[in-house]
Structure formats: C-alpha cells, structure tokens
C-alpha cells in the first residue's frame, strides 16, 4: 500500500471536547497504526491471513482491555479513550479492531464483570498483555439474531460440567487460548464459562473463503463432551443479560471504530480528488464530487458528536443499550455508505490495494451484520420509543 498520509478530519473542532490525556491516547494509537498496521495490512488482507505478530504490540500499546483497572493489569482508561482506541485501530483495519474488541469487551469485560476473584487474577493480566488471547462464543449456526434459542448446553457432573454444542462466526477462535462460552444448563438457563484450549473435545475449525475481515481470523467452536471444571463457570450471572452486557460494550466500541474506517475513506478520497485531473482540472472541482465529499464530512461530523456524547454517558454509567444500538447502527451504515462513495471518487484505483477503500468497504459488510444486525438495532430503537416489541 502507498504511504499512510492519513490526516484526521475534525470539522467541528471536537478535539476541544477531549482531555489532553484522551488526545494523547488517540495520537499514540494513531502513531502505532501508522507504524505497525498500515505498511503490512493490505498484504495480509489480500492473503487472508491474520498478522499474529501484531498481538504483542496491541498488548503493549494498551489496546486490550483499556478500561480494565490497573489492579487486574489493564490501564484503567475511561470510555472515551476506549472509543478513541477503537476508532484508530479500525482506521487501520476493521479486522485488527475486531481482534481488540473481542479481547476487550467480549473476553476481559465478562471476566471482570462476572468472574470470580480467582478468575480475574488468573486471566485478566495475561489477556491485557496478549500473552493469552480470547474469543467469545454466543452465536450458533442456527441462532444469530435470536441467541435465546441457542442449543449449546451443559450438564452438572459434580466437580465439573460437560459441555456440548457448536458456535459459529467466532472472531479470534482459530488462535484463541480461551473462550468465554454461553450455554444452557439443565433448566435451560444461559450461563457463562471459560473454556481453555487443550480441554478434551474442544476444537476451533477456521472459517475460510471470507470476502470480509480477511486480515482477521474467524472460526467455529465445537464442544464434544468437553469437561469444564466448575471453577471456570461465572458464579452468578444468569440469562441473556450476561452476553448482552458484553455486546453493549463491544457495540459501543464499534460505533467509534466505524468512524475510523469512514475517516480513512474520506481522507483518501479528499486527497485523491485534489490530485486526480480530468477534463483539465482536479475532479474535486466538480459538483458531483463535492456533493459526495460534503456529505461524507457532514456524516462523519455527526457521528463524531454522537459517539462523544455516548462516551460521556457511558463514563457516567448512564448510556442505555438502546442508545448504543442507535450509535452502532448509524455509524456503521454511515461508514459503509462513505466507503462506497469514496470508492466511486477513486474510480478504478478504488478497487485496488493501492488504496484502503475496498478493504474497508468489504470489512464493513461484516461490521454491519455482526454484534446486532442493522435491522435488529432498528427494532431495538423501535421497541425503545414505542414500548412494543417487534421481535415476538
């Protein structure tokens, strides 16, 4: 890929709303992405390979569990900083951001929120450095938007449980050391547990042939009579509330991440529109190009304001799941639209790996579906404003 000349748009001077520390966090991850991700990501995406060597750096820079307190090995940052880290990682690539999202919000968060003290001390510090990598098993082949219908189940055998079932579309699964798995007990109540690689009957086949998130490893989790020690179960959390609260944290991060992808597409399109000459002038001088660019920066600015406010609410523990759904849905759709428009501005060059556009666009096709589809989030907003559920 060409040199990473990214310059972040800040049309409404929103930097002034950030603390010096938040700006330093963002600039740090931006510098890390420029140094470590941009030079190699296109090649890995083309080859559909996860750049495993980045794990150590992601851990060192603090991208795993940014808001986990220091006593458990995290840096203990606030939610706006977490969002800014996700934004910068996804500016590099949604796949890299996905790896960090899963580790942070779907593995470290549930262990921190629902785990026993022993589980927290055993896993969190190693997850923060990347020494241990985790994945999250909720979605099943036949249960995506309706996780309550899951078939994975476990039976109580005294000092351990026996887990059976299969999970699908699991980011990080092919290389994860541990999996946070949600399954039903004998009464049909959803419980969470930590399954470790190496437990007999636990396998993680990789999903091949993706046209999206190609630089991220995706796979299945298969449990064939896996004996899981009882001490690996989360003690108290029961029902869908457990996994959904993890998704809330991840979706919040995605709403920031999508802005990163959108900013990268816009920045590239803006630069290209000033350099590309047709009919004797830069194409940025034509009204149809300006319409695209003006709409892009307008939508990015709105999304930036939405997430900033959401971050403040989240810092104050006041962000509702429905508010997070709105931001995830709006921002991912915004980013995907911008990626498509930016592709048009780049003309034929937009389909090549010389520019990040097509990679972002294809990545966002996953992002708009995972962690609650575009339509499901709409129905969450609909339910929230009417009080009437359209799901059942």
């Amino acid at each position: 890929m060409a040199t990473d000349n990214f310059q972040a748009p800040d049309y409404y001077l929103l930097d002034e709303l950030l603390t010096d520390e938040q700006k330093l966090v963002r600039d740090t991850v931006r510098a890390w992405v420029k140094k470590e991700v941009s030079p190699i990501i296109e090649d890995y995406a083309q080859r559909a390979e996860f750049p495993k060597q980045l794990i150590k750096g992601l851990g060192e820079v603090g991208a795993f569990g940014p808001y986990i307190p220091q006593e458990y090995g995290g840096p203990g940052l606030d939610q706006v900083s977490y969002g800014l880290i996700m934004q910068e990682l996804e500016r590099g690539d949604s796949g890299i951001r996905s790896t960090a999202s899963v580790q942070s919000s779907l593995v470290m968060y549930p262990i921190y929120a629902f785990g026993t003290e022993e589980q927290k001390r055993k896993y969190l510090p190693k997850l923060a450095t990347g020494e241990l990598m985790g994945c999250f098993g909720l979605t099943e082949p036949d249960h995506g938007s309706n996780p309550n219908g899951m078939l994975s189940n476990f039976k109580d055998k005294g000092d351990h449980v026996v887990l059976n079932g299969a999970k699908m579309w699991i980011s990080n699964s092919p290389f994860a050391d541990i999996a946070v798995v949600w399954a039903k007990d004998e009464q049909g109540v959803i419980r969470g547990m930590i399954v470790e690689r190496g437990m007999a009957g636990f396998t993680t086949p990789e999903t091949h042939g993706k046209w999206s998130l190609r630089a991220s490893a995706t796979g299945e989790l298969v449990f064939d009579n896996v004996k899981v020690p009882k001490e690996n179960l989360f003690p108290d959390i029961k029902g869908l509330k457990g996994p959904l609260s993890c998704l809330n944290s991840a979706r919040y991060g995605i709403s920031w991440g999508a802005i990163g992808a959108a900013m990268d597409c816009y920045d590239s399109a803006l630069r290209y529109s000033k350099e590309r000459i047709q009919f004797g002038r830069p194409i940025g001088g034509f009204q149809l190009t300006q319409k695209k660019l003006a709409e892009m920066i307008t939508e990015i600015t709105k999304a930036q304001m939405l997430t900033w406010r959401l971050g403040i609410l989240k810092n104050e523990n006041r962000a509702t799941p429905a508010q997070i759904s709105m931001a995830k849905r709006n921002n991912v759709h915004m980013a995907l639209t911008i990626a498509r428009e930016a592709r048009q501005i780049h003309g034929g060059m937009g389909i090549t790996g010389e520019y990040p556009i097509m990679r972002h666009m294809m990545n966002l096709e996953s992002v708009i579906t995972y962690e609650g589809t575009h339509d499901i989030h709409l129905l969450i907003t609909g339910y929230d404003v009417t009080g009437i559920s359209a799901f059942e």
Binding site: D20, E21, V25, K35, G62, P75
Partner: protein, 246 residues
C-alpha cells in the same frame, strides 16, 4: 546516572503556518503542539535507554506557559521519571539556556541532552549556550552515544564523515537522527504520567538578547511552466529574463 533532557514545544509538522496581522507573532490559533521531534525521538529516547541499561533517572525540562503541559505529560508517558516546567514563554535561545542553567547548576546531573535544533525556529543554540553557562563541554550533532566509566563516547557528524569523541561527564550533547529510534508511548505509561511529579519553577533573572521583529512566510512553490521541446530559443530566453539563472 542522572540525565536532564531539554524539550521544547513546536507546532505539529502538518500545521499551516500563519502569523498575526502585523506579522509580529506566530498565530497559535487552532495549532496542535508536539514535542520537538529531535528532543523526543533522539535525546529523550537515548536518555531512557541509558537509564534502562545503567539505572539512574531522566528528568525533562521545558520553558513554557501552563498550556504546554500536555507535551510535558507525553514525555512522562514515554518514560521520563519527572518533569520541570519553567513558568515562562520562552524568549530567545539565551533566555532558555539561562533558565535551564539556573535550574541545573546545583542538581549534579551527569548529562544534559538536547535535540540538535527545534523544527520551528531551527536555532540550534540552546545546547552550546547551556554548556558554556554550566562550564561543561558540548558535543553537537551526535548520532551515537555510549557512557562507561564516567566517560561519554559520542559519534558526531562532521563534513563528509563522522568523528568519534570521548569526553568525561558531565557534558551537554545535542542529538540527531541515528541516536535512537522513536518510541510510541503506551496506555500504562499515559496513566502513570498522571501521577509523575511535574514541578513548576519561577523564572530566574534573565533577559532576552534578541527579539523577533517580524516574520515573512516563505514563498510558495510556483507553477511549472512547460515549454515545447522544439522551442529551445524560448526556453533560453525565459531562463535568462524570468528565472534569471543564465
């Protein structure tokens, strides 16, 4: 080893430089400031490497108003142990050197590192003046620095090559590319920087020797004029009458 690193605050390299309407001052409106790259990438990082290898402490010192503390915190996030801010707008190089000398003279530093120049005013003066005021040797434009047995071994650029210099501590060194590799801070460092000491010291007696009267931005690059390859006569005429190079 006790090391002092001087850091200054410069506009980000992507800043569009503008001056106030009377051209007397740089217009800071909306400008992002960063640590001068020569100070950060080379002087500070090499100081941290020496501390990591040999123990001791790294203090950063900066002359500037309170709004420069964000850059100082970044130096602490990268790994400096503590920081000092001299509470003053930096006047000229003499002013800054005198402030730093006044602070450093009785603190028993083994080494003072500065960047070879700031990327804003490109003065390259503070290091030399500071050494003189402290009565220490000064080695400029260093690309490599090792310290053993109370002696610094320094490689510096000279015209057409490099020179290796040995010098007993204490001394002042100005650092440039090659001395170290830039470090990206991390979240733990950023959090640790919150609680690291940042002392604010008042200005000691000092006066500026110079003052900037006005600024003129450099002329932008002019458009390229294409001459038909067959028309050599016109090219020669233009080189003579317009470009005035022949």
């Amino acid at each position: 080893m006790k090391i002092l690193v001087c850091i200054s605050n410069v506009p980000d390299t992507t800043t569009k430089i503008a001056f106030t309407s009377d051209n007397k001052e740089f217009n800071k409106q909306g400008v992002q400031f960063i640590i001068n790259p020569y100070d950060e990438w080379y002087a500070l990082v090499r100081a941290l490497e020496l501390r990591e290898a040999q123990g001791g402490s790294v203090t950063v010192i900066h002359a500037g108003a309170a709004d420069s503390e964000a850059t100082i915190r970044k130096a602490l996030a990268i790994g400096a142990d503590d920081a000092v801010r001299i509470d003053a707008e930096p006047g000229d190089a003499y002013f800054v050197a005198e402030q730093v000398a006044a602070y450093a003279k009785d603190k028993a530093y083994d080494l003072v590192l500065v960047g070879k120049e700031t990327i804003s005013y490109n003065g390259s003066l503070v290091g030399g003046m500071l050494a003189e005021m402290l009565g220490w040797p000064f080695v400029s434009l260093a690309t490599k620095l090792d310290v053993a047995n109370n002696t610094a071994t320094v490689e510096q650029d000279i015209d057409g090559g490099t020179q290796v210099v040995e010098c007993p501590l204490p001394l002042v060194i100005s650092a440039q590319k090659g001395m170290a590799e830039a470090r990206i801070p991390n979240m733990r460092g950023i959090m640790a920087a919150r609680t690291k000491p940042l002392a604010v010291v008042p200005v000691s007696n000092a006066s500026k020797l110079t003052s900037a009267e006005s600024y003129q931005p450099a002329e932008g690059r002019k458009a390229c004029k294409m001459i038909d390859a067959a028309n050599m006569q016109q090219l020669v005429e233009l080189l003579h009458s317009e470009a005035k190079v022949i």
